[in-house]
């Protein structure tokens, strides 16, 4: 769905005008509310706005991760909800909070600035015990089917199909960790040797340590605005020219795990194939997910993928996808790209995918 006008010319065009993320760490003593306070203030400072300018807020977080029912209620302390604000919450990555905020701004009423957040403290408990509770309660949860095991089943399928080799996967990890050295927020970074990584024992064969994301505490926030407001307050708004998400069948045993049909559908709906892509930030938390997503999004082999280091460098569950979109926006505003893609995923084996196309003003 390529827009028939230059981005920002139509009043319903919506731009990213500010963002912030916390340092990504294995463990923080800060509460989720504290993490959010930091990124909400940071994102609004980045946009040159205050909390009073925000007409709609939407947060993505997970009670199972927080270990507390309605944990998002106390997180509203971070948004300054007085006088009362229009607020929403998704039990999903903050990228879906951004999607809801985007849809809210399309209403075109008096609300012209919205804030999307994502936050998670995965250090709170063992992620391998939390994840199965989010799976099919009859066929997957009773097996303790954790994220690592389900990802490893998909990795094995991709390797068995001959789509990729274990060495190529190790080289993805080497590249991400190398690129992450330039990312001040990254948790895992440095120079590594693929041969040395491949010599290590498997954590969950066929996956080795380098194929996995770190366990991360962190949060992110993104400010978006309708065209008129965006142009008034921001010299270089980053326009959302396409955003779409799509889900497929939950149960991985009934899917072709060597493909991601929902990512392909979402990418087409967002208009990824309608123009060249300068940078793609993909929520590939496991190395094998990167080639799968590149194929689904039909990205040219020359497109830089995850120059931030991606989720292999920092994986703040519930914010990892939103960080991808913020990084894709930064590639335009701060590093001169013209058209970038941010991607988020949810569910076992890339079940649900969100794709966001961003463009610079022309």
């Amino acid at each position: 769905m390529a827009p028939d006008h230059a981005p920002g010319e139509h009043p319903d065009d919506i731009a990213i005008i500010g963002w912030a993320q916390t340092p990504m760490v294995r463990h923080t003593d800060q509460t989720e509310t504290q993490l959010l306070l930091e990124v909400v203030t940071g994102a609004l400072d980045d946009a040159g706005l205050t909390r009073a300018d925000v007409g709609f807020t939407c947060a993505g977080s997970c009670d199972y991760v927080a270990g507390q029912a309605f944990s998002f209620v106390q997180n509203t302390d971070a948004i300054g909800a007085w006088p009362p604000k229009r607020d929403s919450h998704v039990e999903m990555d903050g990228a879906w909070a951004l999607y809801e905020a985007y849809v809210r701004l399309l209403l075109g009423d008096e609300v012209d600035v919205a804030l999307a957040m994502g936050s998670g403290r995965s250090s709170t408990a063992d992620p391998a015990l939390i994840y199965p509770m989010e799976m099919d309660p009859f066929y997957l949860a009773p097996l303790g089917a954790d994220a690592l095991s389900l990802a490893a089943l998909q990795a094995q399928a991709v390797l068995a199909a001959g789509d990729v080799t274990e060495r190529q996967l190790a080289e993805i990890a080497v590249r991400c960790r190398r690129d992450a050295q330039a990312n001040p927020y990254a948790q895992v970074s440095g120079e590594f040797d693929a041969d040395a990584l491949l010599a290590e024992d498997a954590v969950r064969a066929p996956l080795r340590r380098h194929d996995l994301p770190p366990i991360t505490d962190g949060a992110a926030a993104v400010v978006i605005a309708r065209a008129e407001r965006a142009k008034a307050v921001c010299d270089s708004p980053v326009w959302i020219t396409g955003i779409a998400h799509c889900a497929e069948l939950h149960y991985p045993g009934m899917r072709d795990l060597t493909r991601s049909s929902s990512a392909r559908t979402a990418a087409e709906a967002a208009g990824v194939p309608d123009g060249p892509v300068d940078v793609a930030e993909l929520q590939a938390a496991f190395t094998h997910e990167e080639p799968l997503l590149i194929e689904a999004l039909e990205l040219h082999p020359s497109v830089p993928v995850n120059p931030s280091g991606g989720p292999l460098a920092a994986n703040p569950v519930m914010a990892t996808g939103l960080v991808r979109i913020a990084e894709a926006a930064a590639a335009i505003r701060d590093r001169g790209a013209s058209r970038t893609v941010g991607h988020a995923t949810s569910g076992p084996c890339l079940q649900q995918n969100l794709v966001c196309v961003l463009e610079a003003s022309r």
């Binding site: 800060q30 302390d77 068995a160 969950r204 064969a205 066929p206």
Partner: protein, 321 residues
């Protein structure tokens, strides 16, 4: 940091499709469901392509099948069905067109491969649960568990996860507890709006700024009952009350947010009313040594009426927050 364990005990109804599958497991049988010209195992209630509800046309599949994908779990979690190293696998049972995700008790990763033939090993005690099929094992021959199937169709499935959380205790909560142990309230006044909070709140929720030691103020030990409820206890784990008891909201003088769900001391339920003036009852040093730290206001036992004339200010009574 504070540690807590939350259990998630669920009883879920199965319906006619999942119930049929789990009932068949008690009979050491595996069934799929027809969806167009395909057979789905495990059976779903709907066609995954169209979402159309499927007729309950079940067919026996397996018992043997072929591994389509697998991974090796060297260190099982407490939620995994086997306590020694095993494989998770997607198993396409003979006669099915989809993969059943389950475990393979293969001994070693070296025994696993895509294309491996496996058969079920049945549990002796079967109750209509996915793990009645204890594990798949390499080979063509199922390993019987003995005994018969369920007398009645299985309609419910229990699930019980237990997760231990370690969560940070914010500084203000620590300082608030310390103050309560000394028989006083920690007040925190927002430097922007002037609202005063207690109870260890970390932020002014209106101005979203952190409240720190420099924002502390002394608070008087007087409050007004703004709202209340009488709880008739039902017995559940952890409930120690047996008779109807009150929980009240108290607006502490000098603050802007009520203290919720407070207890009253030596006050009959019939005497409780909004506007009642209250004073806090603090634990003695001896009492503090026993169980202090369990709640935010660790030293606060409850509230007792002062006997002063009731408050009548409509801005005070019936306040909920």
């Amino acid at each position: 940091m504070v540690e807590s364990t939350i259990t998630f005990p669920y009883q879920r109804s199965l319906g006619p499709v999942l119930g049929a599958f789990l009932t068949a497991l008690t009979e050491e049988r595996l069934i799929g469901i027809r969806s167009g010209d395909r057979v789905l195992c495990p059976p779903l209630e709907w066609d995954p392509e169209t979402g159309a509800e499927l007729a309950h046309d079940f067919v026996d599949v397996g018992p043997a099948g072929t591994v389509e994908s697998w991974c090796w779990v060297a260190e099982p979690s407490e939620q995994h069905p086997l306590d020694h190293p095993f494989a998770f696998a997607t198993v396409r049972l003979d006669g099915a067109d989809t993969g059943l995700i389950h475990v393979v008790d293969a001994g070693s990763a070296d025994a696993m491969s895509v294309g491996l033939r496996v058969a079920p090993r049945w549990r002796a005690e079967r109750r209509g649960h996915l793990t009645d099929l204890e594990a798949f094992v390499p080979g063509e021959a199922p390993v019987p568990g003995g005994g018969g199937g369920a007398d009645e169709p299985v309609t419910m499935m229990g699930y019980n996860a237990s997760i231990s959380y370690t969560t940070p205790v914010p500084d203000n909560v620590v300082r608030s507890e310390a103050a309560a142990a000394e028989g006083r309230f920690l007040g925190l006044r927002c430097p922007i709006c002037g609202r005063t909070y207690t109870g260890g709140r970390g932020y002014c929720p209106v101005d979203s700024i952190a409240l720190t030691a420099e924002h502390e103020v002394d608070l008087p030990q007087k409050g007004v009952l703004t709202s209340f409820t009488i709880v008739t206890p039902v017995q559940y784990p952890g409930q120690t009350e047996t008779d109807p008891f009150a929980r009240v909201h108290v607006l502490l003088e000098g603050t802007d947010v009520v203290l919720s769900y407070q207890a009253l001391v030596d006050t009959p339920n019939e005497a409780i009313r909004t506007g009642l003036r209250l004073a806090p009852v603090w634990a003695s040093a001896a009492e503090l040594g026993d169980g202090a730290g369990d709640t935010r206001e660790a030293g606060l036992i409850g509230w007792i009426p002062t006997g002063e004339p009731d408050a009548t200010d409509p801005d005070l009574v019936n306040r909920l927050c």
